[in-house]
């Protein structure tokens, strides 16, 4: 299927994505890949999960196919469906099927957002059978060793309606990513936004402060991503306090008191 071939090409990452490891996550991921065990990434939003997978895909020289999960995601969206082209019904692989056929890495981002009946299609694929049944084609695909399934989720959300079923969880090797330590995070922010070290470090200090506000009603503080955004606004010459407000404070909360406290933090630092 030249079509698939071509589409897959686009998913191959040729330039090394910038990634600074937090710990031994690369080692674990490589070992899991070798043993064809799927991977579960946990961690707060914007801590580098997506970037990590991009780096892994580049390292393993596998195409990376990402699916952002949402509650309308149907099995067909993952596996594939018939479409009509020029009066003919043509089967088109869904991203999961494509990844299985071609031995790519399939990354299901925020998997808890998908409905439970959708998540079960990955069950036979995620255990040692490594099979994907395609009912409409009457086909049963077996994944080649190069195929890897990766899912991610953020355990910080407290909703009881959104949790991974144990039967899903227990098929994976888990890697917990967190916000990188201050020095590392500074390097990341500087690299991504082009800021100097001192300003980068100041942004990281601000982030650390907002991350202490769990008991004050802010379950997740500023992520690395937000710092990079703020840094980019700095770079384009915006007033720093204004930039932090736009990129960080207002993004984090609507609560007037918290907003005031975060604004004070910003004003202390910048």
């Amino acid at each position: 299927m030249p079509n698939t071939e071509q589409r897959l090409e686009e998913h191959l990452i040729t330039d090394e994505p910038f990634y600074l490891p937090q710990g031994d996550e690369m080692g674990i991921a490589k070992a899991a890949y070798q043993h064809t065990i799927p991977l579960l990434l946990k961690g707060p939003t914007g801590c580098g999960k997506t970037r990590f997978i991009q780096h892994l895909a580049w390292h393993l020289k596998r195409p990376l196919i990402t699916v952002s999960c949402h509650d309308d995601l149907s099995t067909g969206d993952l596996v594939g469906r018939f479409l009509i082209k020029g009066g003919e019904a043509v089967w088109v692989d869904g991203p999961l099927t494509m990844a299985v056929r071609r031995g790519a890495i399939c990354y299901l981002d925020e998997v808890v957002e998908a409905r439970k009946d959708t998540t079960v299609v990955i069950h036979p694929l995620a255990d040692d059978r490594r099979e994907l049944p395609i009912e409409k084609l009457g086909e049963l695909l077996t994944a080649p060793p190069e195929f890897m399934l990766v899912i991610s989720y953020n355990p910080g959300y407290q909703s009881v309606l959104k949790d991974l079923k144990p039967s899903t969880r227990q098929r994976f090797v888990s890697i917990e990513l967190n916000y990188p330590n201050a020095a590392l995070e500074t390097d990341i922010v500087c690299h991504e936004s082009g800021l100097d070290q001192e300003t980068g470090a100041a942004l990281v200090r601000l982030a650390t402060m907002t991350r202490h506000l769990k008991n004050e009603g802010l379950p997740e503080g500023a992520s690395t991503r937000l710092l990079i955004h703020a840094g980019k606004l700095f770079g384009s010459g915006m007033d720093r306090r204004r930039a932090c407000r736009a990129a960080i404070s207002e993004t984090l909360t609507d609560e007037p008191e918290l907003l005031a406290a975060i604004t004070e933090m910003v004003n202390s630092i910048f």
Binding site: D72, S74, G76, R81, F82, L83, I84, G87, E88, A89, V90, W91, K136, P155, G156, Y157, Q158, S159, V160, L161, A202, R205, T208, M209, T210, H212, L213, N215, E216, G217, L218, P219, R241, E257, L258, A260, A261, I262, E264, M265, V266, N267, S268, I269, F270
Partner: protein, 783 residues
């Protein structure tokens, strides 16, 4: 009031022996001009002060007027309490100085409309502080600015500066400075008594005693004029902290340049001071406005030598001590004794004694935790758990072949075990060893214990043997709580339900151990409900809107057999399937569906007496708000309370059943909630689980509100209670119920995460937040 009446009223307040008439008159004279209301207020405090010290009482009478105008009338009681405290700790002189200092301590020179009060800004400052320090500190209104590292005391209001914005900035500067003081470890300074620096000081100024380790106060006391040493040290620390702040909070530092300059201008003119005091004041001004050309009374050359000294780079408080000593040596040549000058208004005077108290308390807490944690390991590692079953097992005997010294040796890597070892050299020991070896197999030390051990070593340099032996003692007592077994009354009660209780020591249940009664709450009439509705009118409107939106999670469900519209995706797919020779799907419609929330929730309220005070208002208000909001949302809910005493009587109060409608009667019952007895968490949680299990809903939620301290009259406390509670919650989870705990207390307990499970609880330290937060928490939980 004329003097004679004033005198009579004064003398009536005193126990015999009474002072002479003329003595009384002399001291009361200054009050005669005051309004009667203030006279009353001032006299009211006399009975508290007079018996402690007559002289102190007279000084008080002299200063009280100023104090009131500075502090406001509400603060006078606190001020007197602080005064008496100080008198008892540091004597008359210190207390008098404190009183004389009032204007400096409270920054109350300017009284105007531009002031700002702490309670207006505390909601902004509290999260701000929490962000900056890792440890938990509380902000309190106090009679002078200082921190003991656990609390920060700030003035109740600020009026020194001409605008509200600047007064707020001053609050922020004060707070940030105190936070920086905590972060800079000022109070942790120790100088080894044998260090050359200490010896030189001793020889030069030596006031005799030389402790092995010199702490802040000892350092001051080496000098003939301790207060001068103190003020110089504080200035040096002020400089160090200022540098730190300029680096960490450049924004704040920049914003407050003008403010610091203004504060400097408001101080007593240099020309009114002499000798050492003048120099110290000049240095203080230098710190505040950065100018080296102060009229210090010294030659320019000398003064700039001093400012250079002061601005030498400093890493630790010890560096500041060196600076202080150097400056002291120079000032020593000036003859007149030193008269204390005002402290830096945003730094205040250091309070090492208060900080030391906090430190000791924390040390004691760490010790207790360590002993418990180690005891748990020791108990677990016994060859068999059979002895747990027999109650009359021998107590306190350490397990064979392990004496406490061995254990110490195992816990700390080999190295000198010398008590006097200063912490600096103990750094090589700070890597806690990973394994504890008892009787053969090695046991891995849990992370928590490792952390405790590291903390203790950082503090004391080693783990004292006493800690280890205490743990052995504790581990030996593996028998069940005594009182529980002896209490058998009440079993014959009708309609009583029995529940098992988890005993972690034998990892099993005590069968039918607790007896639970269901009780009704009799509604009360009153204005509480209406008041709440009025108080939160705005919030209620907002809440109702928010919850309404939750209810209306309308969504298009695709691939239905019939529905409101054609599902184009499905049709195309179906046609494609048919073309491809497969049978097409018949589910070709979309339907607008109101998502059926199908959630049942029970609110379980801790009504034990330890919740006295907070059960009172905020909790009930929160329940009323929840009731209103849930009525809009349509989720099914029940409210119950619990309390009780001993295992024979766990009371479970019905406030609202799932079947009941939210009405006047229910509101009356909510208003009737009052604190009762003890908190045995297990039985009510199990009972609530049972009730919830019988409710048919897709999601069943158990929200528990408590102060997080399970404790009964008998031995249901500590680890036993925590483990039983934890187990009851796990049981609920096992049957598909989602427990969620809202814990309200001044301080989070370390065991909360263990007891509730990391993501299943939230901690609130401000009760008044509850009415606001509870609906938000509920929303988060169920979307």
């Amino acid at each position: 009031m004329i003097l004679a009446i004033l005198k009579k009223r004064f003398l009536d307040l005193l126990p015999p022996p009474l002072p002479s008439d003329w003595e009384a008159e002399e001291n009361l004279e200054q009050l005669t001009e005051l309004p009667v209301r203030l006279q009353d207020l001032i006299l009211q405090q006399v009975p508290a002060i007079w018996p402690v010290s007559n002289s102190l009482c007279y000084s008080y009478l002299a200063c009280a007027d100023t104090a009131i105008s500075c502090l406001g009338e509400e603060q006078i009681v606190n001020w007197v309490a602080a005064l008496l405290d100080l008198y008892e700790k540091e004597g008359l002189k210190a207390a008098q100085a404190f009183m004389a200092d009032i204007e400096n301590n409270y920054l109350c020179q300017l009284q105007g409309e531009t002031g700002i009060r702490l309670d207006e800004v505390i909601t902004r400052l509290r999260p701000y502080a929490e962000g900056i320090v890792r440890r938990s500190v509380t902000l309190e209104e106090g009679t002078r600015l200082y921190t003991d590292t656990a609390r920060i005391f700030l003035p109740g209001k600020l009026t020194v500066l001409p605008s509200t914005t600047e007064n707020f900035l001053l609050y922020k500067l004060m707070l940030t400075t105190q936070l920086a003081l905590i972060n800079s470890c000022t109070y942790e300074m120790v100088i080894g008594g044998d260090s050359s620096f200490a010896q030189v000081l001793q020889e030069k100024h030596g006031s005799g005693h030389s402790p092995e380790q010199i702490k802040i106060e000892d350092f001051w006391n080496i000098f003939p004029e301790p207060r001068l040493a103190e003020d110089l040290f504080t200035l040096a620390e002020g400089w160090r902290i200022g540098e730190q702040m300029a680096a960490d909070f450049p924004g704040l530092w920049r914003d407050t340049v003008g403010l610091r300059r203004q504060l400097a201008e408001q101080r007593r003119p240099l020309s009114s001071l002499k000798g050492k005091s003048r120099v110290v004041e000049a240095l203080s001004l230098y710190l505040m406005n950065g100018r080296t050309d102060q009229a210090s009374g010294l030659s320019n050359q000398h003064f700039s030598w001093l400012t250079n000294q002061l601005s030498e780079p400093a890493r630790t408080a010890k560096d500041s001590a060196l600076k202080a000593a150097a400056i002291y040596a120079l000032l020593n040549n000036i003859q007149q004794p030193y008269e204390p000058v005002e402290p830096l208004p945003y730094l205040g005077r250091l309070q090492p004694a208060a900080a030391h108290q906090v430190h000791l308390q924390e040390r004691a807490e760490t010790k207790e935790k360590f002993i418990k944690a180690l005891a748990a390991i020791l108990a677990d590692s016994k060859p068999s758990t059979a002895d747990m079953q027999s109650k009359d097992n021998e107590f306190g005997e350490p397990p064979a072949r392990l004496n406490s010294d061995d254990a110490t040796a195992l816990l700390i890597a080999p190295g000198p075990k010398d008590q006097s070892e200063p912490p600096e050299t103990a750094n090589n020991l700070s890597e806690p060893s990973q394994l504890l070896i008892i009787d053969g197999p090695a046991i891995e030390i849990p992370e928590a214990l490792k952390e405790l051990a590291a903390e203790i070593k950082a503090d004391l340099g080693l783990i004292p043997n006493e800690y280890i032996s205490a743990a052995h003692g504790l581990a030996g007592k593996g028998e069940p709580p005594e009182n529980i077994g002896s209490d058998r009354e009440g079993k014959s009660l009708q309609g009583v339900i029995t529940y098992d209780e988890w005993d972690y020591r034998r990892a099993g249940f005590r069968k039918d151990w607790c007896l639970l009664n269901e009780k009704m709450v009799r509604p009360v009439k009153g204005t509480f409900v209406q008041n709440t509705m009025d108080k939160y009118r705005g919030l209620l409107i907002k809440l109702k809107k928010q919850f309404e939106m939750l209810r209306c999670t309308e969504r298009l469900v695709k691939r239905q057999r019939d529905g409101d519209d054609i599902d184009l995706d499905a049709v195309i797919e179906s046609i494609s399937d048919i073309r491809a020779g497969r049978s097409g799907s018949e589910q070709l419609f979309v339907r607008l569906k109101r998502d059926d929330r199908d959630i049942a929730v029970m609110f379980l309220i801790d009504m034990s007496s330890s919740t006295e005070g907070w059960v009172g208002e905020a909790l009930k208000e929160a329940l009323i708000l929840m009731g209103e909001a849930l009525e809009v949302l349509g989720d099914r809910y029940a409210i119950s309370g619990f309390s009780g005493m001993r295992r024979s009587r766990s009371d479970f109060y019905h406030i609202k059943d799932f079947a009941e409608n939210y009405n006047k009667e229910i509101k009356g019952r909510i208003a009737a909630i009052t604190p009762q007895e003890y908190t045995r968490m297990g039985p009510p949680v199990r009972h609530a689980t049972k009730i919830l299990q019988e409710v048919d809903a897709k999601v069943r939620l158990l929200i528990i509100l408590s102060d997080g301290k399970p404790e009964d009259y008998d031995d249901y406390k500590g680890e036993y209670a925590i483990e039983d509670t934890r187990h009851a919650l796990i049981e609920a989870k096992t049957v598909g119920i989602h427990p969620f705990c809202i814990t309200i207390d001044q301080q989070a307990h370390d065991y909360n995460a263990h007891m509730y499970g990391e993501v299943n609880y939230i901690f609130l330290d401000k009760v008044s937040d509850l009415p606001l937060r509870m609906p938000a928490i509920y929303r988060n939980l169920t979307t």
